[in-house]
């Protein structure tokens, strides 16, 4: 697996660090980790960086994860970046909405490094 540039989007800086740590514990080789506190900042970062994978929270101020996905779909070539949603809320409606907007997987907090490894491996194998 090549080294990845990963964008982690969450309004909690602690959670961003936990996601990065889980990726490392899961054996994902990281070239670069970029962080954003909301969807609006993340949209700018995907235009300026060659991102291989995005992991994003749903409930965030300024721009939530669902709106971020919606706007990402309109951004070429960023719309092709695989996205994993990470959130406390697992409502079927939210999951279906995220999937319909291009999310490729869903991890519910609290999560383990094993869950992250499983999702990321599955995602990058496609």
């Amino acid at each position: 697996m090549k080294k990845l540039t990963v964008l982690i989007v969450d309004d909690s800086s602690v959670m961003r660090k936990i996601v990065e740590r889980s990726l490392r514990q899961a054996g994902v080789e990281l070239e670069k980790v970029i962080e954003a506190g909301n969807g609006a900042d993340a949209l700018i970062l995907v235009q300026d960086n060659a991102v291989d994978l995005i992991l994003t929270d749903v409930n965030m101020p300024k721009m939530d994860g669902i709106e971020f996905l919606r706007q990402l779909q309109a951004a070429d070539p960023a719309k092709n970046i695989p996205v994993l949603m990470i959130t406390t809320e697992g409502s079927e409606q939210r999951v279906m909405e995220a999937i319909s907007l291009g999310a490729r997987g869903y991890i519910r907090k609290p999560f383990s490094a094993d869950q992250v490894r499983q999702q990321v491996t599955q995602l990058l194998a496609v």
Binding site: V14, I18, N59, T87, T88, S91, K109, P110, S112
Partner: protein, 140 residues
Amino acid sequence: MLGVEVARSPIDSGAEGPDLTAIVGLAGAPTGVLGISCQEASAARIAARMLGSETPESKENAADALGEVCNMVAGSLKAGLSTSEDLCRLSAPTIISGKDYRVRPILNGERHEIFLDFEGQPIKMTLEIHRASNGAGAAG
């Protein structure tokens, strides 16, 4: 995610009382407020546990971590209490610093309060809840 067991404690054994509180609102069915309070030193140790560090984390990370714990507990409560998770939404966590405050929910509902022991220090968990069956009690 914390990698520790917390035991239920019969009473509030904290000599000083909590000085950091995280609050997450539930809107819909049910409607309510979940609060988790502890001393700042405990929150700093919770943050350290979450981040896998040996030493207590900064004040900023302590507040952030307590908010995330509250968020995750609220998510579990929502999954357990709501007939459909689509009928209930969670607010972003709010952090209150200090001891001298009162929460006065607008709706009359049930109040549940438990104390947990985290590494010898108390964590107070409070749930004010109104079990609306159709979402009529939803806030804004």
